[in-house]
């Protein structure tokens, strides 16, 4: 087990490294540069350009820039944002918490609700509830998340006026204590619902098909023949076997959520990393962008390692 964990962690580090390198190259291959952004559209003074390039190290060969960045990143220094002129690390850490709050809440709610719906539908396969669940799961699965977000805003904010449509806190009031958290929760309802609604179908379908499949396994027939109660068979033997695909999907889906939440953050003006990333891309703010990419790949790699370890503890066939 120890060997397996070490192996997974090393694989994770390697993945981060590769992703980091690819990102470094791609963003620099794209036309445009942060210097043009700083200098403005109409300014084309070669002296100023050279001075700025020297300041940010863009006069060095690409390969050298890469190693300098790598060295600094290892010592925890992600550099200065070219646009904001602030420590990248502090910009990102400000924005990371709201994103994690959104992503983790949505992922956990989706996996729990989706899996329970799947369990119910599998137990009552062919029933009206099953048909209804399957139907709406297809519907939400085929909906673009940002569009669903907009529709929810129209219904619950514009028409019904029940919920705030943007932001994480109401900036017109200065709430403290419990009221502050309640306000954050109120602001979270719509973006989290959007993510959850889009994610539920994935967990619903995987849980349902996996349970139906497990129920038809030979060992279930054997256990029934022993006179064991249906409840015990389901809770102990079916679930443990059927939950494995859900864990795999959870890992994959978390990776998608961490990176893909950007669009939802923009729709709801959520002060997370997604919004920061888009601005950074548009302004070619290399240090900020690289910082975000790094944090994201570290989070995804971390989630994958954790998921792999959970999987290995649940499925004895995985241990090497």
């Amino acid at each position: 087990m120890k060997k397996y964990v070490t192996k997974r962690v090393l694989m994770g580090v390697l993945t981060i490294f590769v992703v980091f390198t690819i990102n470094f190259l791609i963003i620099r291959l794209a036309p445009g540069s942060p210097i043009s952004t700083i200098m403005g559209k109409d300014n084309d003074d070669p002296l100023l350009r050279a001075a700025l390039e020297a300041k940010y190290g863009f006069d060095q060969p690409l390969i050298l820039q890469y190693f300098i960045y790598l060295k600094n990143a290892f010592s925890g220094d992600l550099g200065l944002s070219i646009i904001y002129n602030k420590e990248v690390l502090s910009i990102i850490s400000e924005r990371l918490l709201p994103t994690l709050l959104l992503v983790l809440t949505a992922a956990l709610l989706a996996v729990v609700i989706g899996t329970f719906m799947g369990m119910y539908a599998a137990k009552h396969e062919g029933s009206r509830v099953d048909v209804f669940f399957s139907g709406i799961s297809y519907m939400f699965n085929s909906m673009p998340a940002f569009w669903l977000g907009l529709i929810l805003i129209i219904i619950f904010s514009s028409v019904l006026g029940l919920l705030p449509s943007y932001g994480m806190i109401n900036s017109r009031t200065s709430l403290t204590g419990v009221d502050y958290y309640l306000d954050v929760i109120r602001h979270m309802i719509l973006p989290v619902s959007t993510l959850v609604l889009v994610e539920i179908p994935i967990y619903f379908r995987i849980a349902k098909s996996s349970i139906v499949q497990t129920l038809n396994e030979d060992f279930i027939v054997t256990l029934k023949a022993t006179g064991m109660s249906e409840r015990k068979i389901f809770n102990k033997y079916v679930l443990r076997n059927a939950i494995l695909p859900t864990i795999t999907i959870f890992g994959i889906s978390m990776g998608y959520l961490i990176t893909g939440v950007a669009l939802i953050e923009i729709v709801f003006a959520w002060p997370g990393t997604g919004d920061l990333m888009l601005t950074a891309i548009n302004q070619r703010d290399y240090p900020t962008l690289m910082g975000i990419y790094l944090i994201m790949s570290v989070s995804v790699a971390l989630v994958m390692v954790v998921v792999d370890i959970i999987y290995a503890t649940l499925d004895p066939r995985i241990r090497f």
Binding site: D218, A225, T226, G227, S229, K236, R240, P316
Partner: protein, 338 residues
Amino acid sequence: MDKVLELKDFNVTYKNKSKKVYAVKDINLVINKGDSLGIVGESGSGKSTLAMALLRLLPEKNTDINGSSNFANMDLVQASEKELKEIRWKELSVVFQKSMNALSPVHRIGEQIEDIYRVHKPNARKDEILDRIKALLKLVNLSDRVIKMYPHELSGGMLQRVAIAISLIHDPKLLIMDEATTALDVVTQGQILAEIVKMEQTLDVTRIMITHDISVVATTCNKIAVLYAGELMEVGYVKDILKDPKHPYTKGLLASIPSLSGEKETLTGIPGHLPDLSQKYEGCIFAPRCKFAMEQCEKSKPSEVQLSAENRVWCHLYSHLDRDEQLESREDLVEVNR
């Protein structure tokens, strides 16, 4: 002799919206205490359906079971789920065809056996269970190590032995082995069959062996029932039927097995295929494939012909036997049973 299981007009029909499949038809069969009955037939003859129906493990939504099967003072066909739970495994246990998948792959073998033990003895002490498991594993020639292992760490033969051990955990009256050794190589199969025969000298168990392999029946059973398309063709002692098969189908089955000793013979199979079981047939179900088929065979179903106390055949070739003679032999039977 004590009857352990008695099937009367036992029928199993699979159904869906558009059609019905008559998988098992009008089975009348008695199994006495200490018997070992081999049920043979080709694939699709209804052997496993019969076993699953006996165990009431077929999905109730799309199966109809008619007739009666008396076991342990109750009719298994009518028994409620609660009554069934009482006798399952305690009185009636089973070893399935695919023992490789007979255990959950993500739980330790010992834990699974413990759970099965606790179904009928929920308050058993841990060491009591462990002793029982060890004794059973010894019976099937497995080491105690197996308790701590997962199914994927065992070979097919070992898993089969585990499945047999589990089936004996509560000393059942009746043990059904549904193609229990089919998936194994001949050497392992031979070993396990020999173990089963040896085991039974110390156990008080009656066994039904479902197989398509007559050699399995020859080595491990004292009685045989030949099933074709869900109907009984011939029933009797293995020693009589293997030596002198009466029914043309049994003859065909035996002629399709090569013998190691004796003259070289050409192996003859049985031409034709199983009939479509979604239809009902007026005549003998085997008639279309039977080389002795007569006009009568197409028109009416052969009724049971009692050849001796335990040997019966369903074939028009033998219905010329004097009716009185049949009745007499039946009276003999009645006396024997008394």
